[in-house]
């Protein structure tokens, strides 16, 4: 059964209990950070920080709105990281979450470059990539024990929910409809359709771009055919022409002139 996590920003107070629960459950160390002028802390995700809350300041109708957003792996149905992984270390669990096998990853970081959301990171000491596993990591698997992911369990306001994806999509769309009826015409359920459907659904009260989310994320290999064509046509044909001109033709011309000379 396809599962998902629903983030409902209308219920989120940005208390960051989810961030702490993620660190605690997965036994990740705290990272040294410094004040950079925002409540966002740490500033970025890393191989040891899989979840963080984003604080976005937006001016709407001459007043400043403070928006909150969960920043973690989106668990794409069409996951670029899994597609480009050369050893098949990244795969989807039966619930639909994207998992990095820590015993098989070679640390090439191709997945880091391919992720359209920039959420996967490489641990340079352990030489492997890591990210939110929706609590399916080996030895830390809560779902196998019939539990919810740690972030969901700890959320005090119910802004995070875990369950069947179809049910959560319906729930999220209902919140979006309510938002639209209450003066948020651009409200949107991010993840319903993107990349074949994400397993992290986010209720937004404005367009994705306001939250810094890509409007139309694409799989990293979407232009694979044109990239290969461009490369091979240039390589095999265009760059071969000078050799043909300078060696084949000149050689032929030389042979012809010596034949004429002989005759």
């Amino acid at each position: 059964m396809s599962k998902a996590i629903l983030f409902d920003l209308t219920k989120c107070t940005a208390c960051r209990a989810c961030q702490v629960a993620c660190k605690q459950w997965n036994e990740h160390k705290a990272e040294e950070t410094s004040n950079w002028g925002s409540y966002e802390n740490p500033k970025e995700l890393s191989a040891e920080t899989w979840l963080r809350m984003r604080f976005i300041e937006v001016e709407r109708e001459n007043k400043l709105d403070w928006l909150f957003l969960r920043n973690s792996c989106m668990h794409c149905e069409q996951a670029s990281c899994a597609v480009v992984c050369p050893v098949g270390a990244i795969f989807k669990t039966e619930e639909g979450f994207v998992h990095v096998d820590q015993d098989w990853c070679i640390g090439c970081a191709n997945c880091v470059m391919a992720c359209p959301f920039g959420v996967i990171h490489k641990d340079h000491h352990k030489m492997r990539a890591n990210k939110c596993s929706a609590c399916t990591s080996v030895g830390y698997n809560r779902l196998a024990d019939g539990k919810e992911p740690a972030c969901v369990t700890t959320c005090p306001t119910g802004a995070l929910e875990y369950g069947d994806r179809d049910e959560l999509v319906a729930k999220g769309l209902a919140v979006v409809d309510r938002l639209k009826a209450n003066g948020y015409p651009n409200a949107y359920l991010y993840g319903e359709k993107e990349l074949g459907g994400l397993h992290l659904l986010e209720v937004l009260d404005d367009a994705p771009s306001v939250y810094g989310l890509p409007e139309n994320p694409q799989v990293a290999t979407k232009d694979m055919v044109s990239n290969w064509l461009s490369s091979l046509v240039t390589a095999g044909v265009v760059t071969a022409i000078p050799f043909w001109l300078l060696f084949k033709r000149k050689e032929k011309a030389k042979a012809e002139s010596s034949n004429r000379g002989g005759a």
Partner: protein, 303 residues
Amino acid sequence: MYWGWQIWVYLATAGMAGGAYFAGFLVNVFTGWKHRTFFRVATVTAVPFGIVGVLALLLDINALRVWHLFVSFKPEAMISIATWILTIWLTVCFIMFLAWLLEWDAKNNPDKYSYNMEGGMSKISKVLAWIGFIVSIILFGYTGVLLANTGLPLWSTTALLPALFSVSAVSTGIALLVVVSLLITSRTKKLSISHSLVHRLAEADAIVIVVETLVLIAFAVWLAIAGGEAGTALSALLTGELAVMFWVGFVLLALLLPIALDLLHKYKEMEDKTAAWIIGLSAASVIIGGFFLRAVITIGGQL
């Protein structure tokens, strides 16, 4: 920054190795296999660069888990393609070396073998040379595709990045052969690499560099028109923190200086020794510029 110097050194050396083999093979095949010695020199030059690339790559990954790459094949994953292409190419070159050695031995000791070893090995090495040629195109052709199949705007916005890397690979490959040929001809006359061959190679490189310049312009224009994050990434190259590396390291060294030197060589009368210096300087500049191209694009994409 996750892909550092190991990656751009790898992209440059793997590209140059494939390009050098490609150039050596085409010279040989377009002259009706008259330049077999030159092709052998090209292969012997190219292989170590391929190996250097592999070693650089090994420093960037968990070397103890390299074997994981050899128990899977994923055609949509460029690093998997690279693993198999490099393995096939190096294996083909290695078997070809053995065939050449046997052919050479049979030529010098015709009574040693009861059958036509020389002719047999010659045929086998010809077939292997063709296989190596096809594989070499994929070897240097894939380097740009590796970067293009990602989510980063500088790399993935236009399909011209793979083209740019391919042209540069051939250009640096030819330049490498020019430098090696000049070093050989200055030290020995035993290997039949003529001045005319070196000069024609330099001329071929000049044409490839003109193509490279056109591809670079199209690449930049495409990114500028795309705007957004791609435009910002382009600005970092043209006017931002990578501008010196881009303009001096790549544009000047890989494109403008070599073209200027090649024009000087073509249109100004000069002694053979001076001409060799001019051609050699141009080729060395191309090689250094090729490294800067990979560096500036690899770093620029991750800013």
